[in-house]
């Protein structure tokens, strides 16, 4: 099972304070679906339904690397998945 790191602002609202959650899923999309099944509201916070992609203000990382394929990124059995604020450099 992949470990999902829940962003701090969502813990109280969605995961009863849990910081990490283990879910099944072979892609980022499947991980989000599994999360939403357990904690409704996850999907809308992460996915932009109009464009079927990760919302512009969120970046998803798998095993510490920002996913350039967004929802389509493969997730391993022991992967860690993080949702972070999107950001930039100079």
């Amino acid at each position: 099972m992949a470990m999902v790191w829940i962003p701090a602002p969502w813990r109280e609202k969605l995961t009863q304070g849990q910081q990490q959650v283990d879910v099944e899923g072979a892609t980022v999309r499947q991980v989000i679906e599994a999360l939403d099944a357990r904690f409704p509201g996850m999907r809308q916070r992460i996915i932009d339904p109009e464009h079927d992609r990760i919302r512009h203000d969120i970046a998803v990382s798998v095993d510490g690397e920002i996913s350039v394929e967004g929802l389509r990124r493969k997730v391993g059995e022991t992967s860690e998945v993080h949702f972070l604020p999107a950001m930039a450099g100079g």
Binding site: W5, P7, A8, P9, W10, R11, Q19, R45, R55, H56, D57, I58, S61, G64, E65, I66, S67, V68, E80, H82, L84, P85, A86, M87, A88, G89, G90
Partner: protein, 772 residues
Amino acid sequence: MTDHGETTRKGGEIRNFGTQTYKVVGTRPIRHDGTDKVTGRAVYGGDIRLPGMLYGQILRSPHAHARIQRIDTSRAEALPGVHAVVTAADLPDTTGGRIDLGEGHADTKYMRDNILAGDKVLYRGHAVAGVAAVSLHVAEEALALIDVDYELLEPVIDVETAMKDSAPLLHEGLTTTELNEDTGRKSNIAMHIRHEMGDVQQAFAGAAHVAEAEIRTATVHQGYIEPQNGTASWSEDGQLTIWTSTQGSFTAQKQLATILDIPVSKVRVIPQEIGGGFGGKIPVYVEPVAALLSRKTAHPVKIIMTRADVFESTGPTPGSYVRVKMATDASGKLVASEAHIALEAGAFPGAEIGAAAMCVFSCYDIPHAVVDGYDVVVNKPKSAPYRAPGATQVTWPVEKVMDDLARQLGKDPVAFRLDNAAAEGTRRVDGIVYPRIGGRECLEVARDSDHYQSELSGPYRGRGMAIGYWFNIGLKSAVTASVNADGTVHLVEGSTDIGGTRTSVAMQFAETLGLDAADIYPSVGDTSAIGYTDVTGGSRVTYATGWAAYEAAEDVKRQMIERAAILWESSADQVEYSDGVFKTRDGSKSADFKQLAQKLEDTGGPVVGRATVHPDTGVGGSFAVNIVDVEVDPDTGKVDILRFTVIQDAGKAIHPSYVEGQMQGGSVQGIGWALNEEYAYTEEGRMANSTFLDYRMPTSLDLPMIETIIVEVPNPGHPYGVRGVGEASIAPPPAAVAAAVENATGTQLNVLPLRPDRIINAMEDSIPAAAG
């Protein structure tokens, strides 16, 4: 003339932690564009001159916060020599939407409002109207003839005031988002983000040593010497061509298309040589105005900012208010930390708060931590990235607290940091687990350095050290490579070259093919000549565009092997290539790269290699450590830098001289940030020092040589082990310099810059300094 094969003189020390030795990578060839740049031939954006070209000027708001009631351009339009005047009314009126800049996103409406103010001006220097005329001077005269009626509003120019409930609001419609959820709360706080790991309260409760700091830093500017410029030619067929000085021609293209509401295919951006950027030349400013003026006049229009325009209207880096608290157990292991970070976004949301929140505790292994970050609008120019944006503001508070804890524990500052340094496997406060990083090695090299081991004595002298981190980025790059009949290669890349990256990219290409750096002729293509390439920023060019060059070289190699097979009437699997020589496996036939290149015409025509990359693995972060000795004049409070050493993790230094250059340049920008640089604001929100005379950047006389030690901890994610090196070096200098000044004077300081008056006041407030 110069032979590019000549090497530069020896530079500083390199400490290798497992990188390989190569033939081209790691050498110091003379840069390919060097001769043009020392002879004055190189063409920068401001040098463009087109037939029939008009000169543009921009009218800017004299007020920090006001409602525009009326703009009357008729007197300006009537001035002989004036061809056109444009205002926000000439911009397309589409609302909503966002644009992906590769490095973060921007709101389209805010972006357009920053090009030409809509109903409000939000900072002094905010563009209000543009004029095109036959000469610069006529355009300047016309500005004085534009009549604007303003209803003055109360300005908010610092982050702490702006966050108060009672503060005047810059944007009536702005509400705070939490991560990405709209709270519906009207405020100048555009965004609040929080990272939290473990049980922070409990960890603090059980801690043995606790220290805190409360730090304010001033707004400072990137300070590139070349002002922003743009020349636009909007042709009758609807094609817009832009010559400009930009960190990303494709990002400029995308911004122009969005602001002007035209397809990207209608915009061609031809990047010129760029006179510095440091993040500040990612946004466009004058280009859309030049474009509107060109469309209205049917002439090409060139606009160059004045230096005052650059200070008052282009992205400075945020002023900040930061509180940090950290704690250790009795043995000196960090157990808990918390940070409150508020950054001034300027007039529109979008300070680099995410990066600041990620970088704040990133040098250390801390099991329980919480970070709150706030992106806050104030009546200052919209901030833009500046070298490791957000990292410098948070590095001093953390390093000041670390020094305090080391004192409490009676430990050497470097030893204490080594005890707590983040390493492979450390989980950061944002939850990410580090891959192989070089922070620990940088600290060890610092500890063992000649500088740190040397004695420093004398009254009012002090030493400081600090470590800072920047995460670096990957993003998209494209390279094409055409093999010439003489065996040289013309390489086209999309990354604009600010600091010698044509050469660091070409060197990786040459290495991959076993050629010399001088055999490669690199150039930067415009948006019609090369595949999409993201900005020159995030320390990514040598890393990602270099990777594209590696892949393009591999592509050339594959094709050349096929050609050798045709030439020798063999098959590709019977041909191998090493050390610049193709040969059949049985050894019967061989040809070097140049010999085979001469045969391309007989074996199928030209060979063009190409590659695009979007690396998302192995974007290795970089750490920088500073050691600095200062002497403070007790009568004037002036600080002299006696000795300065920067140690940085480069992964593999492709061209060590230019890696050193990045380290030295970032260090000196950080020294300026520490000691001299600030936007001095009047109560009305006017910048009182918008010249290089009064905005005091370091000069050669202010500095000693900047000693460098390159630490090579290879990045396993890159073909040559490269980590970006452009940014991390700016993060630690204010922390290290402040620590040195505190040590020299026996004071505690908490505001940047460390102006002489502040140092004198602190010395008067404290017990007499312990000499030596």
